[in-house]
């Protein structure tokens, strides 16, 4: 039984861990906020001056900012739609009895272990390249003109690459959820004459909702900061067609060793990510309760 005294002692004992964790989080954040108000370039050290909101207005009025913002949203939503819908389908399929189930599962999960830069290079040079790529060879074999993926549909191509990397994650989480589904419930409904569609819609989907929420939340965190794929394939171009916020921070600030501008861009990215997170939690967060 916990007395008031032992509670105090317990709090006192966990305090070092809490303080350490807090410092771990707060100190870098506070320094970033502090830097974001300075005109601070690594290339002219010792000349830091306070500039107020200059770095922020500069970043927000960047001609590429609006494009980068919409691209970020399109990228996140696009990848989420693809991975969640295909992930559900794959999870249901892989849950069925079949020969070689273990091997098929490994095949499906394998892309998750490929590093982003490597997968971007592979897709760019071996598949999407309009001269030597496999898609171009296939198009030519069918007598078609090869499509220039990265020039004419850069964002869609990046969505494809990123979806390929994240589909295994969604499948894996949803598959484990499928395995905890009560088979007898399904059979009972089948005997009551429920169609396949209604069994999916009224039993399977509600059962998966919590897992889907987890997939969406975790993937959103990572998808907001997609960078390597863009750097390797298109460098954010043509124009700003595939520039997202992360890449914009890189191009506008880090390439120039501009610590102040980079910090401001980083803080804006954090704020945007939080806005997205609040919306997400409002929309689907209730699935996590109970």
């Amino acid at each position: 039984m916990a007395t008031a005294h032992s509670k105090t002692a317990a709090r006192f004992m966990i305090s070092p861990a809490v303080v350490l964790l807090l410092a771990w989080m707060i100190v870098p954040l506070a320094m970033t906020i502090y830097f974001s108000f300075l005109r601070y370039s690594l290339l002219s050290p010792g000349e830091e001056t306070f500039t107020g909101w200059d770095n922020y207005t500069y970043f927000l009025t960047d001609p590429a900012f609006v494009a980068a913002f919409t691209n970020t949203i399109i990228l996140v939503v696009g990848v989420l739609l693809i991975t969640v819908i295909l992930g559900i389908a794959l999870a249901i399929l892989l849950d069925q009895p079949m020969w070689g189930q273990g091997i098929v599962r490994i095949l499906v999960i394998a892309p998750f272990f490929v590093m982003p830069t490597v997968s971007a290079l592979v897709w760019k040079n071996m598949f999407m390249d309009p001269v030597n790529g496999l898609f171009a060879h296939a198009a030519k074999a069918l007598g078609l003109q090869p499509f220039e993926f990265l020039s004419h549909a850069p964002l869609a191509s990046i969505i494809l690459i990123v979806s390929w990397q994240w589909l295994p994650f969604a499948t894996l989480i949803l598959l484990t959820a499928m395995q905890s589904l009560d088979q007898e419930q399904l059979e009972a409904s089948e005997m009551d004459g429920a169609s396949k569609w209604s069994r999916f819609y009224y039993i399977v989907l509600p059962h998966l909702s919590r897992a889907i929420t987890v997939v969406i939340l975790i993937q959103t965190i990572f998808l907001l900061s997609v960078f390597a794929e863009i750097l390797v394939t298109t460098n954010g171009g043509p124009g700003t067609a595939s520039t997202n916020i992360t890449y914009l921070v890189y191009a506008q600030s880090l390439l120039q060793f501009d610590v102040g501008g980079g910090s401001a861009g980083g803080i804006i990215a954090v704020i945007l990510a939080n806005i997205v997170a609040i919306f997400l939690m409002r929309m689907i967060g209730k699935n996590l309760e109970a």
Binding site: L43, N235, L255
Partner: protein, 436 residues
Amino acid sequence: MKLFTRALLGVSALALLASPALAETITIATVNNGDMIRMQKLAGEFTAQNPDIELEWVTLEENILRQRVTTDVATKGGQYDVMTIGTYEVPIWGSKGWLVSLNDLPASYDVDDILPAIRGGLTVDGELYAAPFYGESSMVMYRKDLMEKAGLTMPEAPTWEFIGEAARAMTDKDNEIYGACFRGKAGWGENMAFLTAMANSFGAKWFDMDWNPQFTGEAWTETLNFYVNLLNDAGPPGASNNGFNENLSLFQTGKCGMWIDATVAASFVTNPNDSQVADQVGFALAPDTGLGKRGNWLWAWSLAIPAGTEKADAAKKFVAWATSKEYLELVAANEGWANVPPGTRTSLYENPEYAKVPFAKMTLESINSADPQNPTIDPVPYVGVQFVAIPEFQGIATSTGQQFSAALAGSISVEEALQNAQNLTEREMKRSGYIK
């Protein structure tokens, strides 16, 4: 037994005392190019001559190296005693006083032997701030057989007009032969290196003497129109995503008629192990428009000593060794003349052994025709052929590069791209305080 232990302890104590006096360790940051790896392999020769100096290597990929050394030198971190940097950094860092002057190298080093164009790019106000390890320029590499089939002969010093005509004549899209393979991928070291050098030969410039950007001027309009039209007519599909490596693979698989890129590529495309067209490659100087400047760039990976180091003397000894004539001979003796780091010393090109290397002469002429101190036809306030040696350039050129690759991909017009480039450069220059 006890005595033995004591003796052992005594000896090791002595060794501990003696070692700091004997050896000084210098840390060298370098890039992971073939030539640098070779230097690392041969460095035993240097430590044998200088037993009091020990070497520690930090070998990094180009972009990471640039970030690390820039951060270190700017914050006076003092992690490195010798840094490998390029012609872009040297003028900036030299004028900030971040580098040790190398004007006092011994006479045996023969500093006058360094190619004047390279030396000019590494000198600020008469002080040499870095010693060139290898130098490169850009030139035209073309397919002799395709040129012949098109009924044309490549002059040694072509004009852009001829390049345009030849590229269109060589192109045979049904058989996947593309006359013009140029860099199109956005980036300050990718399409902007090519376009800035090309623009110089069209009489264009980045800034006037008051640092006002010049993209909306006639010369840039002409340059970009020529580039976009030529690549649309005679370039490979997806040219707006092609950088050095993509074009290299296109050329090696026989899909390019002409490729204008770094002189170091010559050794790759003439190597029969990697290239299907090795025996059909010809070389020519980068094109011009008759205005007096050619469209080739100049770059030199160089060794410099940061001003903060306490081991400047040992570092200087190493820099002098690695960029000396003796080092070139050492490489030649171990690996053959074709693997000697090119483009730094006149004496190398006077060597009859080296003259046998097929691309030696054209490399030298290309380097000599670039002048980083006076890169453009009109006077400009900056140094650098394919770049502008100011700290802001990397960021600005990456953004303008995106605009120009968009123009090439056809998602915006040439006029829009130039107007956007003009606006964003002006914005950045105002913020940085160049334009008052």
